[in-house]
Symmetry: C2
Subunit: 453 residues, 2 copies
């Protein structure tokens, strides 16, 4: 199908989605849904299921990006450009960046720019406290954490869908996770200091760090599920058919939900994502410790019963043990439907390290030149008909492309230059984006609508 036609169909699809949402709103008249997603028949769809649009954040000089964030912005613009070839994109930026970004996107009619500064406001609020910690922490650890906060900032909500009576539309809702800054100070200090956990309950006033999810859902007039469960979207992957994959390093760390056992946490995943099986990898990527090893840097589903695993051949590299342990788990389990998993290895770039050149602007004389970067080709975004993955200007880029093209034979694989610049922020393309599932996922229905227009 030609890209233009596909885009056209996506347009109708999005329109139908909006129609369904509006109709649903007019009928239900509720912003907050009672009950849990699973109990009401909602499930989190797989990333390869059709989207209505993609949400993405925007780095700025207020975050810890080098050179006033200019190189990072260039990389993000490349990502936006790539994704918008396949589906509509909404770029969320700080008020002070709005004029610049909207001008930059002037001729990209598939991209809209919205002001959304909550997380940045929150970062400002955090600033002073972080500086207090400086004296008791490794500075390079602190650095990683701060960067990660910005790059991941749209990831504390999750869309879920429920099939409707007809194929024409399904319902969409959002799960408004609680967010405590990747474990917050407790994450840095270690799991023992539970009293430092900053998770906030519903009984407290709405806090800035939880507002992005609400802003997204308000904008789209999408109802939401409230929860006390602390989670970032980057710490889970699903196959849309009942299976979730995550890491013990992150979810069982004790800095997100310290009062819960592993079973209770697994229950929360089942309740909120509509899954029946959780696969626990021991650890995330080496170098990703400050956010406790999100799964989206080490492993993801690429289709039913198929996973892609970050790999390294060098057994002396610290990453090897992480990947091998994950491989062990994956090869000895089944998915929710009882199928064995097809495990495809993809070599990590580099290994990549911070350089003195890019480290200097942030922390002056502190030597960060040898800090390992959490670079990974697994941190890509699956768009409608496309896969947008980071290129690191590295010798492994080309092999990564070949693997992705083989794994996604029906998708166009776009490797975006600038992955190295983005990983300086602690995450990558998948971390910075959030897919919004299509409410009318079937092209044939979209065609029907087209005929009626």
């Amino acid at each position: 199908m030609p890209t233009q036609l596909r885009l056209l169909r996506r347009g109708y699809r999005a329109a139908a989605a909006a129609a369904a949402v509006a109709a649903s709103k007019a009928g239900a008249r509720r912003k907050v849904l009672d009950g849990t997603p699973a109990a009401l028949g909602f499930r989190m769809p797989a990333e390869w299921e059709p989207h209505d649009q993609c949400w993405i954040g925007w780095p700025d000089a207020q975050g810890f990006w080098r050179d006033a964030a200019a190189p990072a912005q260039k990389a993000f613009a490349n990502v936006v450009d790539a994704i918008s070839r396949f589906e509509p994109v909404t770029v969320c930026c700080n008020a002070t960046q709005y004029a610049r970004v909207v001008h930059l996107m002037e001729h990209k009619s598939n991209v809209r720019v919205v002001e959304m500064s909550a997380c940045l406001v929150w970062l400002r609020d955090l600033g002073p406290s972080v500086r207090i910690l400086l004296s008791v922490l490794w500075r390079k650890s602190l650095y990683s954490l701060e960067l990660a906060l910005l790059t991941h900032y749209l990831f504390y909500h999750q869309f879920v869908v429920r099939e409707g009576d007809t194929r024409l539309r399904r319902e969409i809702a959002g799960v408004d996770w609680q967010y405590n800054a990747y474990g917050g100070y407790n994450g840095l200090f270690g799991p023992e200091d539970h009293q430092l956990n900053r998770r906030k309950g519903h009984e407290e006033h709405i806090t800035e760090d939880n507002l992005v999810a609400r802003k997204v859902l308000e904008l789209e007039r999408i109802p939401r599920f409230e929860t006390n469960f602390v989670l970032e979207g980057g710490s889970i992957h699903v196959d849309g058919e009942g299976t979730c994959i995550t890491t013990e390093q992150c979810l069982c760390h004790g800095n997100r939900n310290p009062h819960m056992s592993k079973d209770e946490i697994e229950n929360q995943l089942k309740t909120h994502l509509g899954v029946s099986k959780v696969i626990w990898l021991p650890k995330g990527l080496y170098g990703d410790e400050m956010i406790s090893g999100h799964v989206d840097n080490i492993c993801c589903f690429t289709g039913p019963s198929t996973v892609l695993l970050s790999w390294i051949d060098d057994k002396s590299d610290p990453q090897y043990e992480h990947s091998a342990a994950a491989f062990d788990v994956l090869s000895n389990t089944t998915d929710a439907k009882g199928r064995k998993l097809d495990i495809i290895k993809i070599h990590v770039p580099g290994p990549l390290y911070m350089t003195e050149e890019v480290a200097q602007p942030f922390l002056g004389s502190v030597a960060l030149g040898q800090q390992r970067l959490a670079g990974s080709y697994v941190n890509f975004y699956i768009a409608n008909g496309g896969v947008v993955a980071p290129a690191f200007g590295d010798k492994w880029d080309e092999e990564a492309r070949k693997i992705l093209e083989k794994v996604f034979p029906k998708h166009e694989v776009v490797m975006v230059e600038g992955g190295r610049e983005i990983v300086l922020g602690g995450g990558n393309i998948h971390c910075a984006t959030q897919q919004q599932p299509a409410v009318c996922p079937h092209p044939s229905d979209a065609d029907t609508m087209e005929g009626q227009g």
Copy 2:
């Protein structure tokens, strides 16, 4: 028709509108339209034509509202409540107000809250310059200007529509007026100081004070027409059938478009609003001088060939001459279709004056107790099936309601308490709102869509 059913239909209508927009976008792929609205067949619809939604601003303590804007916010909440009974409402607020407003609107599923702080940012930028002016101006004049800036802040764009090939949908676009703060400093100094006019051309970088229009249009993925013409939406009214009504006091003041003759200004209105006849009232409401007398405080269309005129019986009141002059013009002209106008008088409230109590918090010892307030019952909003008008707690309130009920026999008239609090800000309900025309304006088509769902 029961309200719920009407709401449901509006829901489908909004959905269909979104569908049309998405389809239009997918096809046209343009954010900025070439040519002028009139040349492309667009026209500004009358306010009583069906809407998809209503946009409204939100006062906060950063503006010049008394008591940290709490009384004004209560009044605005009442307005939102009233309008949302008839159509969806989008409340635009400063980032710092977001948590509060979204919480306030938690159970109003017909209301969404979006962050939109550009104008407030712009006010901050203006602040220091305004203070410089303090020594050469009457303080009470300055006060009025600053208040007006906030209350009117969504009014520098205008929606226009173009009929489609079918009754099912029409196209929508926005006219992105240039905005120079109600004549800016030139407006205060008088029309002679043309060199102080701060109008900005397209060749210059996008300025903060022009960003609200773009933010609204970006959010809705609605394309826009660019123009160098300076205008605020409150200074015009149209009947949707070719006639525009405005004031010479405002548009010919020389502080908006000083390089243009009256004929050229009239031409701009015809070009951008798709009208063929402009009716020029000499002046706006007495007390509204600081924004040069917007027409929406003194006169508005209530239907084809029918206008409502702010009136006062007391010939010794300075308002009398304004109203009588307008009456003269209106009774000696015809609309675009050659029809004589039916002129209905509606008595102004009060007259209302500032009190020392409400003036003190702003300017300390400056005596503003006798400043005339630009109170007017004409400054109402026509929603889908409803008319939302300000009540001032005044002896004229009840008569105003009776007149509005007579003029709008098919609408439910809601008089909102707190009009006096809002007028302290220099405008009222009409000034603070902006209707977004329905793209699918025909209920029968909405029913058709419903049948297909």
